[in-house]
Amino acid sequence: MTPILSIERLFKRFGGLVALRDIRFDINQGEIVGLIGPNGAGKTTLFNCVAGVERPTGGRIIFAGKNRSVSLVGKKPETVTALGIARTFQNIRLFDNMTVLDNVKIGRHCRTRSLFFGAVIRHRAQRKEEKAITDSAHRFLEFVGLQGLGGEIASSMPYGHQRRLEIARALATEPRLLMLDEPAAGMNPQESLDLMNLIRRIRDRGITILLIEHDMKVVMGVCERVVVINYGEWLAEGAPQEVQDNPKVIEAYLGTGAANAA
């Protein structure tokens, strides 16, 4: 199987602090990979490096684009999105004061092109594009289960819906790799179950998923492979059950002694 994303010898330093040290792993096409680790392990930093928000200090990130492989190091976030990597944020980042539908429409941005003159003149191509944007936005809302809520103001929706909306917006950019940063945070068990179903359905559309999550039920339930990092270093990797039983992982989460007790 060809990897869709290869992270090779990735380093990230913030001044004297080494946030990521020699991280290397691959994500295969069509996999659901979990990225776990204690708080402050560097999971979100890793996300930011892939998404182009942070520039890695060293190492390579290779993304298998549609036609050829590209290095993501030094790419701007909007370019990374255009290449086919979408993300959600740990603390939800919606366009709070816009409608749900507009939020998803903005996700269509990088796949559409009309500008000022199109907006003013509204020629046929622009009208067609605008209709396509609206139609596909509705489809993505329906896919995540928010049909009929397009007119709501994003920030007025319940928390679980906001998470779904963020996923819909990310899907609207037509990604090939979707990175979810703690999507189950703050969800009740039922909402988590629904979320796991949604993640599987996204994968069934051929989208590879990289997932940061603290909720072990979700990680164990949905991931096919789990990568563990601790203090910015690669710690373990493997099937969920394997990783769960790994003494090094238990130690990282619960401290020394806990591993022996277990």
Binding site: K76, R93, N97, M98, A119
Partner: protein, 347 residues
């Protein structure tokens, strides 16, 4: 009448306003002076709508708008003075010229955030005034540029008559037309891919980038279009008053236009127009009223300042607020609420 009944109330009001605007010059109580003030209101509506794109749609503070207004006015004045170009040719030229200056200033400076950007724009507008004052060979400096030909409709090429705009009435209709076009463009842009990208930038830059929006490009586009409307407003001004001098484009003009936006409701097209109408008419009323009270005319700026202070205290998002700006104004409170909510969730 039947058609009027079938329309929605919102459209009815708009059609009513339009009809009123069209017959206004023929109403018995309307003097030339009043018409002059109304044209001034319309001019400031165009300017305020143009400026609104930057702080209202994109959430960037622009303190140098008057620079583009000045550039537009002087370019139009000089082109008329030296080359005798027709107003109808100058308007598209002014639009392009303004946009070019917007790009020239915006492309290097829009990487700056918040207050730093505001200071650069402020510096730019001062630069324009200094240029207009000191480059006497071009602009005649503080002497001003008199004798600019008024607008005319010249059909002699097609064997028709040449009709010069004399008095306020033709300018009034020209201004109505220009406001209509500006409002139309603003509405269309607001409801488009471009407008949504701007609103996304205003709401959350990080999220906007993650949706594939290039911040710099879209901010420069916004700045260019805003500048273009400023320059068009300037061209109209030049051909209407037929005299220009550098001190017409001092910093306080920028501030006044910004006040109109804040007063009316940043980001709201109707609000911005109301803001322009209120401040221009208030300025004229105070100009008559203050001498009667034995106060110098300059005191009206104090009144504006007082209005702004009161607005910030009681209605910070403007007379017709839009949710996004209202939320930003409440940002402090909202943040605290969010913190509380997230603490609650973890329990």
């Amino acid at each position: 009448m039947f058609i009027l009944q079938k329309m929605k109330p919102g459209i009815q009001i708009r059609v009513g306003f339009l009809l009123l605007a069209l017959i206004l010059p023929f109403l018995p109580f309307v003097s030339d002076y009043l018409l002059h003030i109304i044209i001034l209101i319309f001019l400031y509506m165009i300017l305020a709508l143009g400026l609104n794109i930057v702080p209202g749609f994109n959430g960037l503070l622009d303190l140098g708008y008057v620079g583009f207004y000045g550039i537009g006015a002087y370019t139009s004045g000089l082109l008329t003075y030296h080359l005798g170009l027709s107003f109808w040719l100058i308007i598209p030229l002014a639009f392009i010229n303004g946009a070019i200056w917007g790009i020239l200033l915006g492309a290097p400076t829009l990487r700056l955030t918040g207050d730093y950007f505001a200071i650069v724009t402020f510096g730019f507008s001062e630069l324009v005034v200094l240029f207009l004052t000191n480059e006497i060979w071009l602009t005649r400096g503080p002497l001003g540029l008199p004798g600019i030909e008024p607008v005319s409709i010249d059909l002699t090429l097609f064997g028709g008559p040449k009709w010069e705009f004399i008095g306020e009435v033709p300018y009034y209709y020209l201004a109505v037309f220009m406001v209509l076009v500006t409002v139309f463009v603003m509405h269309r842009v607001q409801d488009s891919r471009l407008g949504r990208a701007w609103f996304a930038i205003r709401d959350d830059e990080v999220a906007a980038v993650s949706c594939g929006i290039n911040l710099l490009t879209y901010k420069v586009i916004a700045f260019a279009i805003s500048a273009a409307f400023g320059a068009v407003g300037g061209s109209f001004f030049a051909r209407w008053v037929t005299f220009l001098s550098p001190d017409m484009f001092k910093f306080w003009e920028s501030f006044l236009i910004l006040c109109m936006i804040v007063l009316g409701g940043m980001g709201n097209i109707w609000g911005v127009m109301i803001g322009a109408a209120v401040l221009v008419s208030l300025s004229e009323i105070l100009r008559d009223l203050l001498p009667l009270l034995g106060l110098p005319v300059g005191v009206r700026f104090l009144a504006f300042g007082l209005i702004m202070v009161l607005m910030m205290r009681y209605r910070p998002a403007g007379l017709l607020p839009i949710p996004a700006v209202a939320a930003q104004m409440r940002a402090g409170r909202v943040k605290r609420k969010k913190v509380k909510a997230s603490v609650g969730l973890k329990k």
